[in-house]
């Protein structure tokens, strides 16, 4: 009984490994100061008369609505909130998002949604992982940059949320963004400035070991099972 259960578990995990994990985010990498333009298709037959929004998703699941439309007439509308523009063309089945003058602290997870407070938003497509990288042409010392930008109040760049209504996490928008931005600041500069030179052979070795290790683990588990339960 115990043996059968063990085998079952082993094969289940093996098969799951075979299927692989589907990609669940679209990645966009842009240099600071540049502009993000995102196309979000929206089904005309379902959402012609619905409002839309562009939201940022925090690390702990917090949702922040950055810009949203007001119209439910099916007509085109273009809304601007600070550095964010939402250009909605409902009868064309598409909406465009523009984020201008990208900053390092803009790095994070975003998504287009059908916006229907107080009901939960409906995500359109998979979220977008935005990675804003330091401008390589910048001459300023990178350590100085880090000190400067960490003292900047990133919250002032984020617009006040207009449709506070009965939304859940609205009151916490300002305090929320600070931990997010410092976390992202912590990741980006170290990647850029402190990465040591790794030899090609080490990289190849690590990659090959990674690929082999998965199958090796299963092989070892199989052998171990055979030994412990006898066959």
């Amino acid at each position: 009984m115990r043996k059968a259960r063990f085998w079952g578990l082993l094969w289940t995990s093996f098969i799951l490994e075979l299927q692989g994990a589907p990609t669940s985010e679209t990645k966009r990498t842009l240099t600071e100061g540049t502009h993000l333009m995102e196309k979000c298709p929206v089904s005309v037959n379902k959402y012609l008369y619905y409002r839309k929004a562009w939201q940022r998703l925090g690390d702990r699941g917090e949702i922040q609505t950055l810009v949203n439309t007001e119209l439910t007439s099916g007509m085109n509308s273009k809304v601007q909130m600070g550095r964010y523009i939402l250009d909605d063309m409902p009868r064309e089945g598409i909406m465009y998002i523009h984020m201008s003058d990208l900053r390092l602290e803009d790095s994070g997870l975003y998504r287009c949604v059908i916006y229907q407070p107080p009901k939960a938003p409906i995500p359109l497509h998979q979220p977008i992982r935005l990675v804003v990288t330091r401008d390589p042409a910048s001459h300023v010392d990178s350590i100085q940059n880090l000190a400067q930008s960490s003292t900047l109040p990133p919250v002032t760049t984020l617009p006040p949320v207009t449709t506070t209504t009965q939304g859940r996490t609205r009151a916490s928008t300002r305090p929320v963004t600070q931990p997010m931005s410092t976390a992202s600041l912590g990741v980006n500069p170290t990647h850029k400035t402190d990465t040591p030179r790794i030899s090609t052979t080490s990289i190849i070795t690590i990659v090959v070991c990674g690929i082999l290790s998965k199958s090796l683990v299963f092989t070892l588990l199989l052998i171990a099972t055979q030994r412990s339960f006898g066959s």
């Binding site: 089904s43 037959n45 379902k46 064309e92 030994r227």
Partner: protein, 192 residues
């Protein structure tokens, strides 16, 4: 016993790495010259790989033999070129109830099937007929699916391409209630 199992494990994992889209049977498209198409004057090309496929219906007469479908393809093109003034038949491919795919603008040329937003980023395939109350026969559905698999195999359609019904991208009844319900079940269909 343990050795056999471990060998099996290695083999399966290796196979997983090599697995690819296999249905590359691209030979069943009726070319323009065969169905008597007027020459195209279209110039705009599509950017490859194409991320979307839009499925529509002509809302016109169906055809269930190659002879009838050949005529119908000509009719559709004549209407688009002579009456609507397009550079060619609007669609990239037409599917007949005879189970054959008719080459419209093809894989490389931008169509005029779904408006200025979607035309430059999609392949437009149409089923010849009106599918509000009827469904196309299974051989027509198969022809469409094999055409799309062919598109992926040729690297023209993105492997993660998304299918949308015409009514999802424009205000229209196309591709008809019945056909729309069918394509909603296709693996590459995207609902939102």
């Amino acid at each position: 016993m343990a050795l056999l199992c471990s060998l099996l494990a290695w083999a399966l994992l290796a196979l997983k790495g090599l697995k690819a889209e296999d249905e590359a049977c691209c030979g069943t498209i009726v070319p323009r010259s065969e169905w008597g198409a007027l020459p195209s004057t279209c110039a705009r090309e599509l950017e490859v790989p194409v991320p979307y496929v839009v499925v529509s219906h002509t809302a016109g007469s169906p055809c269930d033999t190659p002879a009838l479908c050949l005529q119908q393809a000509q009719n559709v093109q004549h209407y688009h070129v002579r009456t609507l003034g397009y550079c060619d038949v609007a669609y990239n491919f037409l599917i007949g109830e005879d189970g054959l795919v008719y080459e419209g603008r093809g894989w490389k040329v931008k169509g005029d099937h779904s408006g200025p937003t979607w035309n430059p980023m999609s392949i437009g395939i149409t089923f010849m007929g009106n599918y509000m109350k009827r469904v196309p026969p299974p051989r027509a559905i198969r022809a469409a699916q094999s055409l799309l698999a062919c598109g992926v195999a040729q690297g023209i359609l993105s492997p993660n391409y998304e299918v949308r019904g015409h009514r999802q991208v424009q205000q229209t009844q196309s591709p008809g209630d019945q056909l729309y319900e069918i394509i909603r079940k296709w693996p590459h269909h995207y609902e939102e």
